[in-house]
């Protein structure tokens, strides 16, 4: 068990500290984990307005506690998104600490904490974890949603968290954004803007999503922790790979250790859609983001998300987004639709 104590208000300085204390290798912005510690990479980015981000995709060989010590001097929040991947049936004896302010990031995939409180994040060994962590100043939140709304949001959020109820899950929206951010090299001509905009969207989604659920009569999940964990496992299995046929309900219900009826009902309560509709929606969103990258042909994307028949793919895609994959693909790659004209101003007024 390793414990790291820190109270840095930006991730560049935290990363520097980690590099020094664990003698990690640095390659430009990228920090790679050496073989004695684990596998994978970590990249910090400092953005304007006091925003700071660290993305990582790692497997650790030892259990780790990140202990963020409370600071009284600066008020900011730490928002993290953690997606963990397990191979098959794992059930390692994790110290299920029920201490306050100890968070197992497997259970708290989406988590907001404050710099004013001590927080310990437990990162289990042997599990691949992809994370985006964001530091945002309290001013930023006040500016964007107004002080009154920020107070309402924060007090409700933290009171739920204290009751050991985590109100947010990683759904499709977050996953797409995480996928865009957690890359060894983000190839984008406006890289910092690209990162900044996606980080802001994640903050927006957290706040608006939480408040919408709160205002709709507490539409939060009323399930036991253990059941929630099993459903999270089902969900991650479902969206792990689109290239094959999805697992059957009966296979999923075995994994979830609940009856098919209960699984279907609880899954819908948690993720808002029936199991296969959820699968399909995610598959289409994945296809869309692949197309928008502009690197793949429609046909390739179709195959990547498990369609051998291009017509079926186009049909399903249109059902989801109201347009054909080719309409998205063209805008991503070719410049056919993009004309920088030399026409004199005036000549092309709109009618």
């Amino acid at each position: 068990m390793i414990e790291v104590n820190y109270n840095n208000s930006d991730y560049k300085s935290l990363a520097q500290m980690l590099v020094r204390s664990f003698s990690l290798q640095v390659d430009g912005d990228i920090i790679r984990l050496p073989k004695n510690i684990g596998e994978g990479f970590v990249i910090p980015y400092n953005l304007p307005e006091g925003l700071s981000v660290i993305v990582s995709d790692t497997i650790l060989y030892d259990n780790l506690f990140f202990h963020r010590q409370a600071t009284a001097s600066q008020h900011y929040f730490i928002l993290q998104f953690n997606e963990s991947f397990t191979k098959g049936e794992e059930q390692q004896a994790v110290p299920e600490a029920h201490e306050q302010h100890v968070y197992n990031i497997r259970k708290n995939a989406v988590l907001l904490t404050s710099s004013l409180m001590d927080a310990k994040f437990f990162i289990p060994k042997g599990i691949r974890i992809r994370s985006v962590r964001i530091i945002l100043g309290s001013d930023l939140l006040n500016n964007f949603i107004g002080r009154e709304m920020a107070d309402k949001f924060l007090s409700n959020y933290f009171s739920m968290l204290l009751k050991n109820r985590n109100p947010e899950l990683i759904g499709t929206d977050y996953r797409v954004l995480m996928d865009e951010l957690i890359r060894e090299k983000i190839e984008h001509p406006l890289r910092m803007k690209f990162i900044h905009n996606r980080v802001m969207l994640m903050i927006e989604k957290l706040v608006t999503g939480f408040m919408a659920k709160l205002e709709n009569n507490n539409q939060f999940i009323k399930l036991k922790d253990d059941e929630i964990n099993r459903l999270i496992k089902v969900e991650s299995l479902l969206v792990k790979d689109y290239s094959g046929t999805p697992p059957t309900i009966s296979a999923l219900s075995k994994i979830a250790a609940m009856s098919p009826t209960k699984l279907k009902r609880d899954f819908k309560a948690m993720y808002g859609l029936p199991i296969y509709e959820y699968f399909q929606k995610n598959r289409m969103i994945r296809a869309r983001s692949l197309l928008l990258e502009g690197k793949y042909a429609v046909k390739e994307v179709g195959i990547m998300v498990g369609y051998s028949n291009l017509g079926h793919f186009a049909g399903s895609f249109r059902k989801e987004f109201g347009l054909l994959p080719s309409e998205i693909a063209n805008e991503g790659s070719s410049n056919a639709a993009f004309a920088t004209t030399e026409i004199e101003p005036h000549a092309w007024s709109n009618n």
Binding site: I145, R191, M200, I203, E331, A337, F338, T340, H346, N351
Partner: protein
């Protein structure tokens, strides 16, 4: 047909001007159409420390001609619009231009217009492009290209962003963050695509990173001091350690203009900036920038901007 003519670069002023011409009232940065004139609204939205945004979503009973006149101030506008005519035809487009040029947009009567306009100052864009890989190329392109007119088909992704801004699903509470984020995505997307199209135009020539670095050194040297005559191409070629002909080709490739034209553009832009700062007289400016006489400066300035230095030394108001 109502004619709206303006060269304002502040959207607060522009909204007031619209309201005045349309004889409508402004409340809380919103102009509401009264039932005798149409329906819908025009809304102003300020982004934090940066661009201003105007959201137009209305149907007017009378057609409107939007005519932008040249302004001495250099601002850049991204405009997205979707106009649904009475017969159901919809026209949509994305436009990008700068306020030192004229352009018009004609809206026929009884057409439902949904339009988003984003106005950005040169200074804001300079900061926006700073520390980005594509920053220099984009900045040069938009500064030097004349006329700067980019006209794009409004695709599904832009339409989605526009819809989200117009309908505000989460309600008024989160207006600020939702609008701000969508605008940021529109700006990011526009410049990313512009960059790709610039790149595609030049993709027939390869340039190594060492050469790129040297060409940038040349550019640095070229713009270092305007009070002296520019270094001769032969001299620049020595700095770049390449032949003059190769340097000329690569320079044009990277900066999109021949060396001397590029020098002259930047020199005149500097002149304009100095005059606009109101700290320098026409004579001082001409001297600092190495013109032998005010009249040759006047001539060069007119050639670049189609106006005389004295025209912009005095503020223009509409």
């Amino acid at each position: 047909m109502i004619k709206l003519e303006y060269n304002l670069t502040s959207y607060e002023d522009l909204l007031r001007y619209f309201a005045k011409c349309l004889r409508l009232k402004i409340a809380d940065n919103i102009v509401h159409f009264t039932p005798d004139k149409g329906s819908g609204e025009i809304k102003l939205f300020n982004l934090q420390a940066g661009p201003q945004v105007m959201l137009l979503d209305f149907t007017a009973y009378e057609g409107i001609d939007f005519i932008r006149k040249k302004s001495a101030k250099e601002f850049f506008v991204i405009r997205i619009d979707e106009a649904r005519e009475l017969n159901g035809n919809t026209k949509s487009s994305l436009f990008f231009g700068k306020t030192s040029q004229e352009w018009t947009y004609t809206l026929s009567a009884n057409t439902q217009l949904r339009q988003i306009k984003i106005i950005m100052s040169k200074k804001w864009l300079d900061e926006y492009f700073e520390n980005e890989d594509a920053g220099q190329i984009l900045n040069n392109y938009i500064t030097l290209k004349s006329p700067l007119v980019v006209y794009e088909i409004l695709d599904a992704e832009y339409k989605r962003l526009m819809n989200e801004m117009m309908s505000l699903p989460a309600g008024k509470n989160f207006e600020q963050i939702i609008l701000q984020n969508r605008i940021s995505f529109i700006i990011e997307r526009f410049f990313t695509r512009l960059f790709k199209s610039i790149e595609n135009e030049n993709s027939n020539l390869r340039i190594s990173s060492v050469e790129l670095k040297r060409v940038k050194e040349v550019e640095n040297e070229l713009l270092k001091d305007f009070s002296q005559p520019p270094p001769a191409i032969a001299q620049l070629a020595r700095i770049a350690a390449m032949s003059p002909s190769k340097l000329k080709v690569l320079f044009k490739e990277v900066f999109r203009f021949p060396i001397n034209q590029y020098y002259q553009h930047h020199r005149m832009n500097k002149a304009k900036a100095m005059l606009l700062s109101r700290k320098y007289s026409v004579r001082d400016t001409a001297g600092t920038l190495g013109f032998s006489s005010v009249s040759s400066f006047n001539k060069a300035f007119f050639k670049a901007f189609e106006q005389l230095p004295s025209d912009i030394a005095v503020p223009v108001h509409k």
